[in-house]
């Protein structure tokens, strides 16, 4: 792969030697720690109670002593002034120009404040992502997203503009209208959740448009892990005849990682974020590759509502390979493989819902949709998988189900009850899908 300054959004940072990157991270950590200590009552109390102050951060190991934060804390502070963000806020309210909130999937939504500088920073993070995905100022990017209180593709829009792309906001159009507009305008790229990427392809075919004929060259995914699940990524690439790239971010963190044209693992933007991986059982920080743990993350340059050593509960692992793209930014293998609070024990076996998706999407005879429901009868866990078989394969149902059961057992060490539902009868989602339902009392 040819590598020169045109390969990178910022060749200086993206190819910086790892030891320099580490020094940069320690100094930037110290800077945001000091900012939060001096400007956010929440952080000042948190650090004072832990007996820490800015001068205590001198080495990388010192960072590990800094208390972590979590979503529960972010919710709690909202009960205190200033309304509606609470005393984590580190700038006067009149400097806040952007409101966003989390989707509330795991509880009360968290309100996120950003200043205009923070918003520029969001766009900057997205510029790194899109440039790595191959976007250039010759691209016309369609954004099929209902612009609203969720950050979702808002920052992608501003990041694409920063690159010089021509951005088409898909806004309140319905899916058919979005597909037709993409075709009419000869768009070269779009961004959506994997669920919606597949859903749009379905809709296109229903209205007589072959999605491969539109001319989309690249698709940027967010919001769900699918673009890092090989079988789901393959489905999307085949449906659109385009390259599919992944990125991971969060409202309360920022856009912290991205795949590159090598399409292998996700680079952490080490110049803007510090990612640590913590062993869920022991709390030890994991440095070795291919060992799962939960992510603790710091955004170095987000000022209004700092994100410092935030326990995201995302389960990730460092890769044991380097990337041929030449970036020295560290790589996480396989994207976000689950969430610490999603990875659950069923019948005594640890189960990550992404493993089920990987199996289901490897069956070309099945539709893109499925649903998993975990129940408890007495003391016994029960796991049900609902699927749809494509009409052309209905006669092979028994053989398909046998193969599916075998593959699920191999990949997840669990036996499933499988329910076949009529084609296109399971719920379809436009943003984040909720396919895994654990109904057991906790």
């Amino acid at each position: 792969m040819a590598k020169d300054e045109n390969t990178y959004w910022n060749p200086i940072l993206e190819t910086m030697p790892p030891e320099k990157l580490r020094r940069l991270q320690v100094k930037k950590f110290k800077r945001i720690f000091e900012w939060a200590y001096n400007n956010s009552p929440f952080y000042k109390k948190l650090y004072k109670d832990a007996g820490m102050e800015p001068g205590d951060i001198k080495t990388y190991d010192d960072i590990k002593k800094v208390p972590t934060t979590d979503k529960g804390m972010l919710r709690d502070v909202q009960n205190r002034p200033p309304f509606p963000y609470g005393d984590m806020l580190a700038v006067p309210l009149q400097q806040v120009t952007e409101f966003r909130q989390t989707s509330g999937t795991t509880g009360t939504p968290v309100y996120q404040a950003d200043t205009w500088q923070d918003w520029e920073w969001w766009a900057e993070c997205w510029a790194y992502i899109l440039y790595a995905h191959g976007y250039r100022d010759t691209d016309r990017m369609f954004i099929p997203f209902g612009y609203n209180i969720f950050v979702a593709f808002w920052a992608a829009h501003y990041g694409a503009e920063k690159l010089g792309c021509e951005v088409v906001p898909g806004g309140v159009l319905d899916t058919e209208a979005r597909v037709m507009k993409m075709q009419e305008l000869k768009c070269t790229a779009f961004g959506a959740t994997p669920t919606y990427v597949l859903g749009m392809a379905d809709t296109a075919r229903k209205i007589g448009i072959d999605p491969r004929s539109i001319g989309i060259q690249r698709i940027t995914c967010a919001g769900e892990p699918g673009a890092s699940i090989p079988t789901t990524k393959k489905r999307m690439e085949e449906a659109w005849g385009a390259k599919v790239y992944d990125h991971v971010g969060a409202t309360e963190i920022g856009a912290w990682s991205y795949s590159c044209i090598a399409q292998k693992g996700l680079h952490v933007n080490d110049a803007f974020f510090l990612v640590e991986i913590e062993d869920v059982e022991t709390g030890e920080i994991i440095e070795e590759p291919m060992r799962n743990g939960k992510m603790i993350i710091t955004a170095f340059d987000r000022m209004a509502k700092p994100c410092i050593r935030f326990d995201s509960k995302d389960v990730i692992r460092w890769a044991d390979y380097e990337c041929e793209c030449g970036r020295t930014f560290r790589i996480i293998d396989g994207g976000v493989v689950g969430r610490a609070d999603d990875i659950t024990k069923v019948k005594g076996v640890l189960l990550a819902p992404t493993a089920i998706e990987e199996v289901v999407r490897s069956f070309s005879e099945l539709s893109d949709e499925y649903e998993v429901i975990v129940t408890k009868k007495g003391d016994i866990d029960d796991i049900m998988l609902k699927i749809e078989i494509k009409p052309d394969y209905k006669k092979q149902e028994t053989e398909i189900l046998n193969r599916l059961k075998d593959q699920l057992r191999v990949k997840t060490n669990l036996g499933y009850k499988i329910e076949v539902h009529p084609y296109e009868s399971l719920p379809r989602y436009a943003l984040k899908a909720k396919r895994f339902k654990d109904t057991r009392p906790h």
Binding site: E5, P11, I12, L13, R23, L24, K28
Partner: protein, 61 residues
């Protein structure tokens, strides 16, 4: 091959932009159109600092 960039020289120019913003604010900062556009100018300048000036943080011991 990645070019060798003269980061220190670029940084000097970035600092000059910041100084110019301060001077503009001193001269016309009570004009709302000046004040609010300076917020945007400074935010963009900050992104230049994150991309260029901060590189020195990795070089220093």
């Amino acid at each position: 091959m990645i070019k060798d960039y003269r980061i220190d020289e670029i940084d000097i120019k970035i600092q000059e932009i910041k100084e110019a913003a301060t001077e503009i604010e001193r001269l016309g900062g009570d004009i709302e159109a000046v004040k609010k556009n300076l917020v945007r100018l400074r935010a963009s300048t900050k992104m230049l600092e994150l991309n260029i000036s901060d590189v020195e943080l990795g070089n220093a011991p």
